[in-house]
Symmetry: C2
Subunit: 221 residues, 2 copies
DNA sequence: AAGGTAACCTTACAGCATAAGAGAATCAAT
DNA sequence: ATTGATTCTCTTATGCTGTAAGGTTACCTT
């Protein structure tokens, strides 16, 4: 007791909103966002669950916060660059972020309050489009089209019941049930002749659609 | 007692898997999928929660089931039709189903076992593409691109913090915070000059992207 | 040294999915 | 008609969940 001379040097509180959110992000990546609970989050931080509520308002606040952290990971090209290359880079960076955090796309549906990183992101994208000669209405079209594609692709990719490295044939059979070739001939054709071929990676489909959309936007602009 | 002469005419069990799933679908539409619990589902059916487990394996089974019900609502054009018109109709029908059930797109992420209606849907879409002259690889590209766009658009639409009929300006301010025009000038421009104009409906953006994609696919085919 | 304040913990509650088993009702076969 | 088996439903219980309410501790300011 008398041997402890640290009255106000060591900060008592290692807990901050940032630390809480970064820990939540790591837990969501490890075990999925469904397994993220306030108790487990607190346990990871060596603290009781209720202590978290001094730094975040609610669990929804935590979810809003980690979604904004994901947006913060997306690289934003400078507005001066050629719009097509800039939008291509932005799309690829977004897709990489959503692959690192597969739960993020599905979480969007229930979020309501966009964080500062989210707003900054949207504003930067619109800046690129406007500087590239898009009218306001045309920028809205392009913005909606590109983001729908990017999020939808991430959603599909997260929904795949296998990883690119898995043995795909071992996965296809239970998915299709006992009589795939008879009941679903075209699905069977797609699987056996394309998806189950060695080296196939669904992720490679992304650039095909992205470049098709960008070319279409260039014509429509 | 003696006045009741119905020994085996009236079926004792009004509970079936179909009835359980249709009730779950209705509850999800009314209160959102997050508010759907086995207890409330049972209560709606006038039964205790555990009785449901004789007709469905788990809550996940219920969620898989109602997603398949949504797929069942999508109209599938006949294979004989022109592929472009058929895919356009299919996309619009899918989008309508996802607007009737806004939780469905976000739910995909966590589902694993596709139901029979889902498989039938995928097979029919592939049939249209193959009959339209798409190679297997090209059909995979088109399939991925179109569905990514459709689901992504549904996800964005479900995420909008307002309905088309709402007073949009009342909603924009709390979303952007106190200083929108200064911090996010392009976002502010988009809102004031386009989104907040009377008559704007985000749903109208859907056809622009869809037709752009279909035209691009026609060229790429 | 005293008071104020912010961070933390304890306790508690209502709701969640579902495992285990008991009770009742129906059907099949004698 | 009676029995036995099967199927459905309910009761009870366990260990989760988010978070409201209030008590305790440690620090900072004066």
């Amino acid at each position: 007791m008398a041997t402890d001379p640290t009255p106000n040097t060591a900060p008592r509180s290692p807990l901050t909103r940032e630390l809480v959110l970064h820990t939540a992000l790591a837990l969501a990546d490890q075990h999925g966002v469904a397994a993220l609970s306030m108790r487990k989050l607190a346990q990871q931080l060596g603290v009781e669950a209720m202590s978290l509520y001094h730094h975040v308002a609610s669990k929804d606040d935590v979810l809003d916060g980690i979604v904004d952290l994901v947006f913060n990971e997306i690289e934003l090209p400078p507005t001066t660059a050629d719009w097509k290359a800039a939008m291509r880079d932005r799309a690829i960076s977004t897709r990489h972020a959503l692959r690192r955090h597969p739960w993020a796309a599905g979480l969007m549906e229930s979020r309501s309050a966009p964080g500062p990183a989210t707003l900054r992101h949207h504003d930067a994208v619109l800046a690129i489009l406007r500087a590239g000669g898009f009218s306001v209405a045309m920028a809205a079209h392009a913005y909606s089209l590109l983001d729908s594609y990017i999020y939808g692709f991430a959603l599909q990719e997260a929904n795949l019941p296998f990883e690119a490295s898995d043995d795909l044939s071992a996965v296809a059979e239970p998915m299709l049930g006992p009589t795939p070739a008879e009941d679903y001939p075209h699905l069977a054709e797609m699987l056996t002749e394309h998806v189950l071929q060695p080296g196939y990676d669904y992720g490679n489909e992304f650039l095909f659609g992205l470049d098709l959309i960008l070319d279409g936007l260039e014509q429509a602009r």
